[in-house]
Symmetry: C2
Subunit: 377 residues, 2 copies
């Protein structure tokens, strides 16, 4: 039976690490998980309670753009977080931010179009683009730029994806950097998509939304990270008024609607920022331990982790085969980490990503093991 | 800001009807809903109970292909329903059957490829194809063929979508018809996708899966209809072994995973066939009333509704503007029905679809109103 060329996307390398970690656990070993990019906590209690009491209703298809009260709640959040006055009509509830990317790319780009993004970056950008017959164009970023692209370095392309805080770097774009990048991109005729799914998870200044700078941007966000709702598959996108009808028709046909139960939970989650802040306090402490412990263990070349729950380390002094190195760390230290190749097809063979989204005790134990392993090497 | 050509998909015409019905209700009118294609019943009690007791767990990302026990449960259903021995490794849990189409089309077709389907048919097939830079090719079907395509009528194309029971026709392919169609398509090098999302909802013989005939087929199904779980966005797809890795990588990147809470509910729903059968008994009675009442009201040219919960009527003796006719029915009779243009861009201006998925009392009242309206016309 036929297979498409567009379907031949790259495998997720972290999946091999996760499978190896699962095998080790099945064999009775204790593994510390620093590879997975998700909180270990459940959805906020208020969210779960709201869903529990909605379960008697028939949770049928909602309208394609999402429950009106949820769209309003998200618009309110833009005032609270950024001081931005946002028309709820521009809020599109999506099936995770993943669903938002599919909608944005469909609304903006035609087969063969080029879409640029910084390397290292979230691997699925590249693969979703390929699956849609679009061409990902990597911009090699520099550690001294905190792994974010410079306006001068933008290639010729139809689109640009920005991510702040970035994954795997955890670095945050300053408002002036965001402005320079969106302006340079717009001047080149590029449509800008700003991935803001780690907003709320920052350790210095608050994160700035591209929406504070321009309305001519697709802003993508999600309940997955800050609200600790990865498996619920509910995110959102703010679209320019000019693109609303297009995105609505695409959403009707491609998804029908985001999961109704998840929308009910997400609506209530908006009122649970206290619980989200408590999770953030845990990440903050984990981050402190990591910034203290990783260099002591020998991982000294790390990007300043200003947000999210990742630390990206240059390990070129130890290896030029990060996958092998990650396997060694798993086998000998019992710590699962992500080799960088998922994030940077070129330089990722010499980098690792450490995630610190789990419980603090796990982080402390992981650091102890990493230190011991590196000392014995 | 740029817009793509692929994003310019057609609007859903039924949405206009639904909006008009909602306006009428807001103005205090009582409307009978024969336009919507979904059950009015909630998910099975067992499914809701299972989810309620899972809410304490962190419902994080699952593996991309879905919870292993759910994939096993779906494989078991193929033995129970069809006597087919199915390797659970070939079961892909998806974000509704909508998610399954995106995965199937990505895995099978490249930009510019042609995919054929019978007209009338489910409108989103065409629009999803367009959004993915693929070309939908309509096969004009005949009432005397129960609105299903004939093997001789297959055009040159890379793919073929079959739907049995069909939407809007409700007609079912016999095993010999299914065999002749899949064989003719395969001989022409077409990949076959069999949409079986109304299986379980049939009123004569049981429905036959394409999987009883060949393994060289993508079979799409869903918890939406038979299990009454539309808003939950959980469906599945059976893929040939040769395409598993491709589909898995696409699913990892495009969706990460189907909604976890919905998967928990769906797993329990598999044990709730008694409740599903009770819903079916309601549709059966509704169908009996419709088959008796519609012709009496004047709608005599209808496709034999062997499955699903739709009746497709040729109303060319009354109108060549079904949208106007539907508006008239809504305004004067207080019954919302779907004009055929969504399903057949050519002949749909002279057809209507009636849905009978709601409570029997509503169906009886709707028929009374339709009869009165047609008599007064
Ligand atoms: C940068 C970034 N964007 C988007 C996503 C997708 O998240 P979701 O689809 O759960 O909203 C992730 C997930 O890890 C991510 O790291
Ligand atoms: C024939 C057909 N296929 C697919 C779908 C999509 O269903 P879902 O995505 O809810 O599984 C529908 C919905 O009405 C349909 O009628």
């Amino acid at each position: 039976m036929r297979q498409s060329a567009r379907g031949q996307v790259d495998p997720f390398i972290v999946m091999d690490v996760m499978a190896a970690a699962a095998r080790a656990e099945a064999a009775g070993r204790d593994i510390i998980h620093m590879e997975v990019g998700q909180p270990g906590t459940p959805a906020p209690a208020g969210a779960r309670k709201a869903l529990a009491s909605a379960l008697e209703q028939p949770l049928g298809y909602t309208v394609a753009l999402g429950l009106p009260e949820l769209r309003q709640g998200i618009a309110d959040l833009y005032r609270r977080w950024y001081g931005v006055d946002l028309d709820p009509a521009r809020v599109v509830v999506t099936s995770g931010s993943s669903g938002a990317f599919i909608l944005a790319f469909s609304a903006l780009f035609d087969s063969g179009d080029r879409v640029a993004m910084g390397y290292p970056g979230y691997p699925s950008y590249r693969q979703i683009l390929r699956a849609m017959s679009l061409e990902p164009v990597g911009i090699e970023t520099r550690p001294e730029d905190r792994y974010q692209p410079r306006p001068e370095a933008l290639p010729d392309a139809e689109g640009l994806i920005l991510a702040s805080p970035g994954n795997p770097s955890g670095t945050v774009l300053r408002p002036d950097e965001m402005r320079a990048l969106t302006q340079a991109a717009t001047a080149k005729g590029m449509a800008v998509i700003s991935d803001e799914i780690y907003h709320g998870l920052s350790y210095g200044d608050r994160c700035h939304s591209a929406l504070e700078i321009t309305d001519e941007v697709f802003v993508v966000n999600s309940f997955s990270k800050y609200f600790s709702m990865t498996g619920w598959r509910v995110g959102w996108m703010i679209v320019p008024e000019t693109h609303l009808r297009t995105v609505e028709r695409l959403a009707q046909n491609l998804f029908i609607c985001p999961p109704h139960a998840s929308q009910v939970a997400a609506l209530a989650a908006l009122d649970c920022e206290e619980e989200a802040q408590a999770n953030l306090a845990v990440y903050r402490e984990n981050r402190r331990l990591m910034l203290e412990g990783l260099p002591k263990a020998g991982f000294t070349r790390i990007a300043p982790p200003e947000g999210a729950f990742y630390i990206y380390a240059d390990v070129s002094e130890f290896t030029d085969n990060a996958l092998e190195f990650a396997t060694e760390i798993l086998d000998h230290a019992g710590v699962a980490v992500t080799p960088g190749l998922d994030f940077d097809p070129d330089r990722g063979a010499r980098t690792l990503r450490f995630s610190y989204a789990r419980a603090t005790a796990d982080i402390a134990e992981g650091l102890r093991r990493l230190t011991e392993f590196m000392a014995s090497r």
